[in-house]
Symmetry: C2
Subunit: 146 residues, 2 copies
């Protein structure tokens, strides 16, 4: 999660909502990403999707069994759906997202028994640091709009 | 939807599950995609994500207001979440997906009032052709495994 938080700080430095993610396989990081929606003008530029795509390229397969995703913020529906589609074993997230979180908060796509894959979820890891990054970002943005 | 079906046939020709999508803005196609999960070893290689990313590149913005997504199969949770994240006005789909459809079948992410955007949904457009493409693909695959 240290490395996911480092990715989130890269997003912050770029003026993006600070969210970072890494994919781990056999104890090694094989994909990393941070939010770059504004920088790249990409609605799909969430940290998780970037890290998952990188991990699949690294392994040369689309099924990421044996892999865990570490992300600083609870995944949104798109990213939670990507976790299912990529057959990840596990999602470890930091701060919960009560507005759009889809790994337990407003819905639970990652563990939905109707879909063809479910991933284990571990929540709240380094949550205060992840949340503080987000709080700081939004407070600064509100201030700059005053 | 003609063009989305043409994209689905390109997927079929490549040995992929035949799903195709286009994004339309002001009556013109500004993004197109077909499923390339196997070809590209990419768990995110769904038709919708490819078409949405292309449309955002074309417009140079991540908010795709004023745009409609045409897709031959009801979007999965990942792609339905991408519709919300990209602020698309409308989703027009062909065949419903009773197993994983997230625009009305097993869930309705696209019109979920708790999320920060909702898109209009039109379903069943050219559904028999879209479904027939899928049926043919899966029948052939089962036969090849006999």
């Amino acid at each position: 999660m240290d490395e996911a938080l480092a990715e989130a700080r890269l997003a912050l430095d770029a003026g993006e909502v600070p969210v970072g993610a890494v994919v781990v396989h056999d104890g090694a990081i094989i994909g990393r990403g941070h939010n770059r929606r504004e920088t790249a003008n990409d609605p799909l530029g969430h940290a998780e999707l970037i890290a998952i795509a990188a991990a699949a390229r690294h392994l040369g397969r689309w099924r990421l069994f044996g892999c865990s995703l570490f992300v600083t913020l609870e995944p949104c529906p798109m990213c939670a759906g990507a976790v299912v589609n990529s057959r990840l074993d596990r999602v470890v997230y930091g701060a919960a997202d009560p507005r759009a979180g889809a790994a337990g908060s407003i819905m639970d796509i990652v563990r939905d028994g109707r879909l063809n894959h479910r991933a284990e979820v571990v929540s709240g890891v380094r949550a205060p640091e992840a949340a503080e990054l987000l709080r700081g970002f939004f407070a600064a943005r509100r201030k700059s709009k005053d």
